[in-house]
């Protein structure tokens, strides 16, 4: 453990630091974790701790065609966003890596804009733009908007791993007869795939999680799960929300675990 590696720290300082670290983690996790017991409550309302237990809110969730359709919309949009954002972001990062420092820094600022600008502004802008091109309430519109939001995360993760990658390997491959795309696919990509995968995961979560833009431009039969949850919270607060949240947490954790396991394996074999 890194904590025990600290030179010169007394056992007491180390112990205090460990406790402090554990507390930070606890408070970070608490809001997420508290939802899980609430979802198994038998009560009509969100309460903690629950007085009695049941699975009725899961039945409510999985039995509702409205919730199910919103879930599929969200998953579809998230998958399509990932499929678009991962290659786009990877290519952008590669291109930025190969340009001069000046151009790269300028591009980096530009590319980070969607992350920095308040999402409500993005949402309003996208809504008005989509009103013109008639993309509001469509899957295509949602996927495009989410891709714009997700691409920066892919770029950042891929760019940072390209910084640790020796580009002369690609030159070597090219001198040995590989075209540039061939060299990238056969030599560079295998060595940065973990960051591409991490970027893809972040893109997936960005889309799945997104509520502000979705609130503006999704709706009708193409409403996302987060949009429906938001409406449900406003109209009637019942533990279905907690059940859905728990499911979303499980999906996120599984996806993260998959990335980590794949990463450990690809690093172990390298």
């Amino acid at each position: 453990m890194a904590i025990q590696d600290m030179p010169g720290a007394s056992p007491w300082t180390q112990r205090l630091l460990a406790i402090y670290g554990a507390l930070v983690l606890f408070f970070l996790m608490l809001p997420t974790v508290i939802v899980i017991p609430m979802s198994f409550s038998d009560s009509q309302y969100l309460e903690f701790p629950p007085t009695s237990w049941s699975l009725r809110w899961y039945r409510e969730y999985f039995g509702s065609s409205a919730w199910m359709s919103a879930t599929w919309t969200s998953l579809l949009v998230a998958v399509l966003t990932t499929v678009l954002a991962a290659p786009l972001g990877t290519l952008a990062a590669y291109g930025m890596h190969c340009t001069s420092d000046k151009v790269r820094n300028a591009l980096q600022l530009l590319v980070l804009m969607p992350v920095v600008v308040p999402s409500i502004l993005v949402a309003v802008g996208v809504f008005h733009l989509y009103a013109i091109v008639d993309l509001n309430y469509s899957i295509t519109g949602l996927v495009l908007a989410h891709t714009a939001l997700a691409v920066p995360f892919v770029i950042i993760t891929v760019l940072s791993s390209l910084n640790n990658y020796d580009m002369t390997q690609e030159m070597a491959a090219r001198s040995m007869g590989a075209s540039r795309p061939q060299a990238f696919l056969s030599i560079t990509l295998p060595q940065i795939r973990f960051s591409v995968l991490t970027g893809a995961f972040l893109a997936f979560i960005t889309s799945l999680d997104e509520v502000v833009v979705a609130k503006f431009i999704s709706g009708g039969e193409n409403a996302t799960i987060t949009r429906r949850m938001f409406n449900a919270l406003r109209d009637q607060i019942d533990p279905t929300i907690a059940a859905i949240s728990t499911c979303l947490i499980v999906v996120s954790v599984l996806a993260l675990a998959a990335v980590q396991i794949f990463g450990a394996r690809s690093k172990g074999s390298a």
Partner: protein
């Protein structure tokens, strides 16, 4: 496609009027050089001289503004790197860490669509050439620096390229291993039918390995010659100073003659034209302790200031008057040590006329 690269016959390289500029800086300033087929040509120069840029232009990774690069009869200036058919060895080895040694070496063959069985046998043969037979199954991170360099070599020659480019391939190795690899590379070159262009900033390495050396300075070729000629007949103070151990001694111009300490010097080459200041180029090991006095030897008088023991030789620091110092290198064999003068003694040094080179100070 594979056949084109395999029909191995080394190619001449003809570079004409090559210019590469970054903004106002001309990294390659109208460079022309004719490299003979099968030659071991070294591009030697200080860092920033343009030697690596020239190599990268040959490889196709640098696009020149103007000029021509021909491999044999074929113009290559706009050809992509992967279609030039050159083998290349990089300073950082540039091995693929996620592949085994054998997979690394087989990569150029795989790209060329060679059958897996042939890939395997040719990779093994290439590894045997660099004395790494049986290492095919190893991972790259299990190899030492010297072994990595050998793998990089095997990979660059496995597809039998007619031209091999090397960018300071030995500079990451320690001195002993580097000197060993220099000899080995030279032997390897004799076995391969390939023209080798080798970049280094190490003049000793260049002298050891090359058929000819192109000394590059400020984007231009300062001198192109065989190692011996380059060492004994440098054509400029830059080359004289860059190659080997050099002591410069100002000398006087007397019309067409040159004099030192009031004596006329017998020169190996004609006195440089013009009226600018002149310098005598002295290699410390070419000075003799007995001043000679015959008509083939120039004499330099001085006082021994210091004697420095360096193992394989002894360096004498001589005060040649007017605050000028000359150093003399004497071998530590019995003959050399028998006549070693004491500190403070007056001596007359001899310099054979064939070794007496006088050069003009450059205007720039």
């Amino acid at each position: 496609m594979a056949a084109a690269a395999a029909s191995s016959q080394s190619l001449p390289i003809t570079v004409s009027n090559l210019v590469k500029a970054y903004g106002d800086l001309r990294v390659l300033d109208d460079v022309s050089i004719a490299i003979r087929p099968g030659e071991f040509m070294t591009l030697l120069g200080p860092s920033g001289s343009g030697k690596t840029t020239l190599l990268m232009a040959l490889a196709g990774f640098v696009s020149p503004e103007s000029g021509s690069i021909r491999f044999g009869e074929q113009e290559m200036i706009t050809t992509s790197p992967h279609k030039r058919g050159v083998g290349m060895v990089f300073q950082s080895y540039a091995l693929f860490p996620f592949m085994s040694v054998a997979e690394n070496v087989a990569y150029p063959l795989k790209i060329r669509g060679v059958s897996p069985a042939e890939q395997k046998s040719r990779a093994e043969a290439a590894l045997a050439m660099v004395k790494l037979g049986g290492y095919g199954g190893r991972r790259i991170n299990q190899l030492s620096g010297g072994q990595k360099q050998r793998v990089a070599l095997a990979r660059a020659m496995v597809f039998e390229p007619r031209i091999i480019l090397m960018d300071e391939p030995l500079s990451a190795l320690d001195k002993k291993l580097r000197e060993h690899m220099q000899i080995e590379l030279k032997q390897l070159h004799q076995k391969l039918d390939a023209t080798i262009v080798y970049v280094t900033h190490d003049q000793r390495e260049a002298l050891t390995m090359s058929d000819r050396i192109a000394v590059i300075n400020k984007g231009r070729i300062a001198q192109l010659d065989e190692p011996k000629a380059l060492y004994r007949r440098p054509n400029s103070l830059f080359v004289a100073d860059f190659i080997g151990e050099t002591v410069l001694l100002p000398v006087q111009r007397d019309g067409d003659d040159v004099s030192l300490q009031g004596r006329r010097l017998k020169l190996a080459t004609p006195t440089p034209a013009g009226s600018g200041p002149l310098q005598l180029v002295i290699r410390p090991e070419l000075l003799q302790l007995d001043g000679g006095g015959d008509d083939q030897t120039n004499t330099i008088a001085g006082v021994v200031r210091q004697t420095i023991y360096q193992g394989d030789s002894v360096l004498l620091i001589i005060d040649a008057g007017e605050g000028r110092e000359v150093s003399v290198r004497i071998a530590t064999n019995r003959a050399g040590q028998a006549s070693l003068p004491d500190s403070g003694s007056q001596i007359a040094l001899g310099l054979h006329r064939d070794d007496t080179v006088v050069l003009a100070e450059q205007a720039s």
